[in-house]
Structure formats: structure tokens, C-alpha cells
Amino acid sequence: MTLAPTTCLLFDASCLFAAAASPEGGSSYTLSVCARGYLQAVVSLDILIEAERNVVAKREADALYRYRGLVEAIPFVVLPSPTEEAVEPHEGVFFEDAHVVASALAGQCDFLITLDRRLQRRVEQSSLTFTALSPREFLQMVLPTHPEYPRIRQQS
């Protein structure tokens, strides 16, 4: 597939958590690419709640401020909570992550960006319409296929 500003990346709670906890990490950088309009960042209301609850429970106040700053600064497409009918078919394979998969499908996302290896493996083993990658894998393997990257690389 060809990357474009309309390419949709659904970020799960693990990435939002990591971006809040580690502003120099791959999640944070991938979100910054979206913030500058090269790709479209997507989340769901449930993913935002899940991330914020974990940041509050596991991190200090500075991470919570960063998290809230990210949510305000990044022009996310925020999907509504998926319906029971959309979540239920995925519960058998994805358990607590069924709502994430339902949202990625409902939002017609191209990529699910996650740091959860188990979720990534389960997506790989299922025939879904999107690809699950970690931020590092996305940067390494997919961002260089951005149509502007060859020109960018020549310039630098």
C-alpha cells in the first residue's frame, strides 16, 4: 500500500501510555508524524479511557500532563465506542482487546500501532484488513515507503 496523509493509524492504549511516559520514544515520534499531517492518527473513546486510567494508576503527574497535552495537540479522529455486535465476534480471540480490533475495523484503519506483542501476534494470525506493527517496526519498514521519503532522503 502507498502511504498518504489519509492513511489511518489506530494507536492502542499501550502506545498512548508509552508516549506519555517516554516523550523520546517511537510512539511519541510516530504520533508527531501524524500531528504534522503526514498520516492520520485514530483512537477510540475507549482507548483514550484505557490509556488515561493506566497513566493515572502507574505514572506520576508529569506523565498525566503529557498525556493530556498529547490528546489536545494531536488531531486524532476519535471513533465512538464500538457496539456490542461489533465487539462480540472478536472476544474469543482478542479477549480484552476485542474493542480495539472492532474499532480498527469500524474506522477502516490501515495499521494498528501497538506495543502489545500478544495483540500483535493475534492480529497477524487472524485474517483482518489491517496490519499490526510496533511503532519501531512502522518507522523501520513502512515510513520509508512514504511517497515523499525518497525525495526527503536525497535532500538530507
Binding site: 499501550s14 508527531s32 493506566n54 495537540a73 465487539v87
Partner: protein, 117 residues
């Protein structure tokens, strides 16, 4: 009826109880059980309105949506896997420099151009 935007951002337990239409003991129990985030200032609690809204969202009666609570070991793994290094770091630096991003501006010695980091 008071409009939501007119409600204070920070509430006392009594105001929080009125907002959620529960009694104040329930508010104290939610705070003790870690279900509601509050700050203790001296001998009294203050509750951000956002915490109350989050509690309402998180306790919606939708048993088909479950939220993960990441254990510490998994968080360590997330943060280790999120470190930018090797080829990913090289791609990110190249992309950032050529597109005028500010993510690596400090290491380049540039003035930051945006505030997304």
C-alpha cells in the same frame, strides 16, 4: 438546573456526591478503593471534575468492553520496545530533518518549530 460548563473544575466530596447523585460516603469509598482520583489537601479531599467524568465513562454498563490494567512487567516491556534505535531512529531522524520537524531539533541545535513533542 446547573449547566455542566458552570460546574467547578475542582470539587469537594460533597459537591462530587451531588454531581454523581450518590451520598458522600460513597465518594469516600471510591477514593479509598482507588476508583476515583482525588487529592488530599490537609485534612480534606478535592476531586477534579474530570475524574468524576472518567469514573462515569469507565463504569458504563457495557460488559462487552473491558479495559486492560497493565502490570508493571508489561509496562517495562512496552517502554523497552518503544526505545528509538537502529534503523527506526535513522528513518525518524531523516524524516524529521527533511520535513522541518522539531522532534530532534535539540540534538540538531535548532530552535523548536512545533509543540507536538
Amino acid at each position: 438546573m446547573q449547566r455542566v460548563e458552570d460546574l467547578p473544575e475542582i470539587m469537594t466530596p460533597d459537591q462530587a456526591a451531588e454531581y454523581l447523585q450518590v451520598n458522600r460516603e460513597t465518594i469516600y469509598r471510591y477514593i479509598r478503593d482507588g476508583k476515583l482520583d482525588a487529592s488530599r489537601l490537609g485534612r480534606s479531599y478535592r476531586v477534579p471534575r474530570r475524574s468524576l467524568e472518567l469514573l462515569l465513562l469507565a463504569t458504563r454498563t457495557r460488559p462487552y468492553v473491558k479495559y486492560r490494567e497493565y502490570p508493571d512487567e508489561q509496562i517495562e516491556q512496552f517502554l523497552a520496545d518503544d526505545v528509538l534505535d537502529g534503523d527506526a531512529l535513522a528513518v525518524a531522524r531523516t524524516f524529521d530533518r527533511a520535513t522541518g520537524g522539531s522532534f530532534f531539533a535539540a540534538e540538531r541545535g535548532d530552535a523548536p518549530a512545533d509543540s507536538t513533542r
